[in-house]
């Protein structure tokens, strides 16, 4: 149901990991909001986020399921490079920035 995630840089291994670790309600959310999630993932890809995109889905689903214009607006206020680095290295404390 959420296999489309693989189109945005999520490896088979990370996809299986997501399936096992996401709660079922979040999987449903990702399925129902597919078209919006696709837009946001593409945007994250453009920012340079690919390998650790699964972390964002697992720990910060709120950023993956939100209107793209809002996401862009909120990201415009912060250092995007730092955002990407925090996702890669310390996703759980990303909340302090964003």
């Amino acid at each position: 149901m959420i296999e489309y995630l693989k189109e945005y840089g999520i490896s088979n291994f990370d996809y299986l990991y997501l399936q096992k670790n996401l709660n079922p309600e979040d999987i449903q959310r990702l399925m129902l909001a597919e078209s919006n999630v696709r837009e946001n993932l593409l945007y994250f890809n453009k920012l340079g986020l690919k390998e650790n995109l699964h972390k964002l889905i697992l720990y910060r689903l709120d950023l993956v399921i939100m209107p793209l214009d809002q996401l862009k607006y909120l990201l415009s206020k912060i250092d995007k490079e730092l955002f990407v680095q925090l996702v890669n290295t310390n996703i759980k404390n990303l909340i302090l920035l964003f």
């Binding site: 079922p24 399921i65 939100m66 809002q70 302090l96």
Partner: protein, 456 residues
């Protein structure tokens, strides 16, 4: 043998030869590794209930602890924690017990370091090597990537990249085979194949209105379209197909290409649920807020679902309760829906509990929602945990919430306890008497961001 696998075995041999494990016996007691116990205690005080008498005696003897009450306190504490774990006893610990625990933990670490300096790292390496070997030999998942990377670096720095590439290729295949075993072949058995999906006339009428090719729908939706009570489905259809959103006609707010979403609304929302959501977004002054309605439909369909089903969690009641709560505390819910639509479909009981719990310490619920809405959505329990941690450090929560300069970041951060302990150890803040939340916040922010930049 696969090149990557061979390399992993070579790394194991290399590391085993470079570290001496023989002294490990000096930190064993009755077959228990003292480092394991120290780690367990570091993670959670409750693990003290697994510590045997012999270990307590050893710590007292070798740590030269003279205090006569110490043994009594630590054994009583262990037994209380045993009751907490096994009989759900409510345990409130006084200062004496906490102090005894701190002394026990630090003395144990001192003994370990005296017997075998660097023991923690030796034990850690041993564990990692065993884990890797078991993974390779017993067909188990290999997950200790950081360890493998560091050994590979030591093994041959010049060929690090090519070696890691071979290793990762192998691990990827190895783990995928375990996670995704080949399909089991079943013996032949009679299967009834349904050639064509047939619906009632009412359902065909709806499908025509949707202008959809139902064959593209997932099977579970087709099954419910066929088997659910047609009258129920039709009752929802009659409401959502209307032209005016104010009357519940919300179908046109979902793009035509998003057929799954449309069918989910049709099947699992009742007319009452749809109208209740519309009403919740309507005010006398401004009428219906179409933007918010569109966002909820397309990003958080759960808030419309109230029919019990096998696939989607009904969140309509939670949503209506949360909206009532937000209106009561005068939160600007329109902005909240835009910025964080998932906020509206969290568990209402949990939300209510946290807001009331914080309010007990003088926290303004509106401030809490405005500053912590993301934490409340993704990991609400961290707020309660962090308040407990701050209380254990004797922080006056009334002052903390009144101060509010740190944007309540101390409530959102992970591993707050270890951060505070580190700051106390480094004498940046004083034990049991810190009120400089703003300073702590800036130290935490600096450290988090600095680490990120360094690693990045």
């Amino acid at each position: 043998m696969d090149e990557g696998k061979e390399l992993l075995f070579k790394l194991i041999d290399f590391k085993r030869k470079s570290v001496s494990f023989k002294d490990q016996e000096s930190i064993m007691l009755d077959g228990i590794n003292m480092v394991d116990i120290a780690d367990m205690l570091e993670k959670d005080m409750d693990n003290l209930c697994d510590v045997p008498d012999s270990m307590i005696d050893k710590v007292i003897e070798e740590g030269n602890i003279d205090d006569n009450n110490f043994k009594k306190n630590i054994i009583q504490l262990r037994d209380l924690l045993y009751g907490k774990r096994n009989y759900n006893l409510f345990v409130k610990l006084n200062k004496e017990y906490r102090d005894a625990f701190d002394i026990f933990k630090s003395t144990l670490l001192e003994i370990i370091n005296k017997k075998l300096p660097g023991a923690k790292s030796v034990v850690e390496i041993d564990k990692n090597l065993n884990l890797l070997q078991q993974g390779l030999e017993n067909h188990k998942l290999i997950k200790n990537f950081d360890f493998i990377e560091s050994v590979c670096h030591e093994y041959d720095e010049n060929k690090y990249d090519t070696n890691m590439l071979k290793i990762y290729r192998y691990i990827n295949d190895h783990n995928l085979k375990i996670l995704n075993p080949p399909d089991i072949e079943f013996e032949d058995f009679d299967v009834e194949i349904v050639d064509e999906t047939e619906f009632s006339d009412k359902i065909y009428e709806i499908l025509n209105k949707f202008e959809m090719d139902y064959r593209t729908l997932p099977n579970f939706l087709l099954k419910d379209l066929k088997e659910m009570d047609n009258n129920l489905i039709y009752s929802t259809f009659e409401v959502i197909k209307q032209n005016k959103a104010e009357d519940g006609g919300v179908l046109h707010l979902i793009p035509k290409e998003n057929q799954v979403l449309r069918v989910v609304l049709l099947l699992y929302s009742s007319p009452q649920a749809v109208k209740a959501v519309v009403e919740s977004l309507t005010t006398e002054e401004d009428g219906l807020d179409i933007d918010s309605l569109r966002i909820l439909l397309n990003y958080n369909m759960g808030v419309f679902i109230d029919r019990i089903n096998d696939y989607f969690k009904p969140r309509n009641k939670d949503y209506l309760n949360i909206m009532d709560g937000l209106k009561e505390i005068k939160v600007n819910y329109k902005v909240l829906i835009k910025r964080n639509p998932l906020f509206l479909s969290q568990n209402y009981d949990m939300f209510k509990y946290i807001v009331e719990y914080c309010h007990e310490f003088g926290c303004d619920p509106k401030e809490l929602v405005n500053r912590c809405h993301k934490t409340l959505t993704i990991n609400p329990t961290v707020i309660v945990n962090n308040i407990s941690i701050l209380l254990s450090h004797k922080v006056n929560m009334f002052t903390y919430f009144k101060d509010g300069k740190d944007d309540f970041n101390l409530l959102k951060v992970e591993k707050l306890d270890s951060i505070i302990n580190q700051l106390i150890d480094k004498k940046v803040i004083k034990k049991y008497s810190f009120t400089n939340f703003d300073k702590i916040n800036s130290i935490i922010l600096n450290s988090v961001f600095k680490k990120a930049r360094k690693k990045g």
